[in-house]
Symmetry: C2
Subunit: 275 residues, 2 copies
């Protein structure tokens, strides 16, 4: 698999890089279709927001796009990952100098999820691992992902995803996805203002449901609210929309609203189906 | 400066390493005096605890000690840093295989803190950046340190340290140190059961004050309790004990208890003075 580190074909990152030392950086994971990165400007906007939040220089989207296309060249479908770190600097939490950021651009095989995940829905569990609350890190896709790693380690393959709550007990997201609930004609998703990731596909879905006139709220919600919902679905840039078939002791029928949203995101070519 | 990656003289870590990708790993920072790492067994115990918590294989302390002595060879005083990560694995939060951990051992110059810090005390501020609460990560010295990086970025050099609270408003620690309060004949330090780092020097101080018969508690405390204390001091493996001279609008006289603890830790050769 292809990797570019600061534009050079290399798998080598300096051991003194603040990305390794402290997780001082950001990343994006995106779908690439026949050489074209999907939802590119949305991913670049979130990355720029993250850089502003971490006080890193803004990335050059044209340079990154060239590199993403380079590592994914010749692949019908691929996952591209872009990492931006605070670069190489001395020991200590303080960034001593304005070191140039490090960028790592890599291509990965498209994941082999069963077709049934998108068509028939997935089995989902609750995770015990919580997400710490920190408004300064909320929403951005930073490199401090131990909580998600520990949550994902709670099960093997018997569930497609696990849902996480924050340290106050409110639902936040899946380990690798955002979560939505449909209750009557209302669409809800957890706010990501105190923790969690503001997913690019999450934003696409929010735009679409608002444009369609659904009542739509981003708010904190308890696990009980989610479990009592009519429909639940998961989103991310690679999976698109997955309906949830079971969560804890609840089963959900395949819902009409979820189906419409799934079709809309596919039709808008912000995502394309497996089949 | 000397760096060993998996025992080889190299500054290169694989870009796919989970330490970079997710902060999936741990570190230790320790003082090395004339080739001897100080408080070695204590650092190795905390590292082993961290590995157990993150479900990483336990490190080989003899191998690490050899490598620490190798990178610090010939230096009268040095700081050694040991990083253990979950190693190289595919994309995704799930550790797909039992990849061997990556270890990075590096030597760094002893920091040039003014002598006055230990003798006359330091000026300290409150940080706005909070620490998220997560019992599964509390106490261990993991690689997810963005909160500390952001806190340390709140000031330049006008303070020696900044104190951080958790997301519920309780005092936790300094960005690079633990904090103690002396109130009458009682010594207090924040518990590190929901967030924070269980510092090796913190443990040394707790042992000593308990052996001396002080009343001593690890508990959650508010900033107001800390500000109202008779004495405050900071600890870590490199600085030893620094008395706090000012915090916010409070000034503190150099306290007798702090002085005794400082001398005791130095005399026990778990730390040695600059002068």
């Amino acid at each position: 698999l292809n990797v570019l580190v600061n534009g050079h074909e290399s798998a080598c990152v300096d051991a003194a890089d603040r990305g390794l030392q402290y997780g001082d950086g950001l990343f994006e994971t995106l779908a690439v279709h026949a050489g074209t990165p999907l939802l590119w400007s949305e991913h670049m906007q979130r990355l720029a927001d993250g850089c502003a939040r971490l006080r890193l220089p803004p990335p050059d989207p044209e340079c990154l796009q060239r590199e993403v296309m380079q590592v994914c060249a010749g692949q019908e479908r691929a996952v591209a990952k872009v990492i931006i770190t605070a670069g190489v600097a001395g020991r200590g939490y303080r960034r001593e100098s304005a070191a140039p950021p490090t960028r790592v651009v890599s291509a990965h095989a498209w994941p082999a999820y069963p077709d049934s995940y998108a068509r028939e829905g997935v089995a989902v569990r609750w995770c015990d691992t919580v997400l710490g609350i920190n408004p300064r890190l909320a929403g951005i896709k930073h490199l401090n992902r131990l909580e998600h790693v520990l949550a994902r380690a709670e099960w093997a393959m018997e569930f497609a995803e696990g849902l996480m709550c924050d340290s106050e007990g409110y639902v936040v997201e899946g380990t690798m996805s955002n979560v939505f609930a449909v209750i009557g004609a209302t669409v809800l998703t957890p706010a990501v203002t105190v923790t969690g990731v503001a997913g690019v596909m999450r934003s696409q879905v929010l735009q679409w449901v608002r444009a369609q006139g659904y009542a739509c709220h981003e708010k904190r919600m308890t696990p009980a609210v989610l479990e009592a919902a009519d429909e639940i679905f998961l989103t991310n840039s690679i999976i698109g929309v997955w309906p949830v078939r079971t969560l804890a002791s609840r089963s959900y029928a395949l819902g009409e609203t979820t189906y419409k949203i799934q079709k809309a995101t596919e039709a808008a070519q912000c995502f394309y189906t497996v089949a």
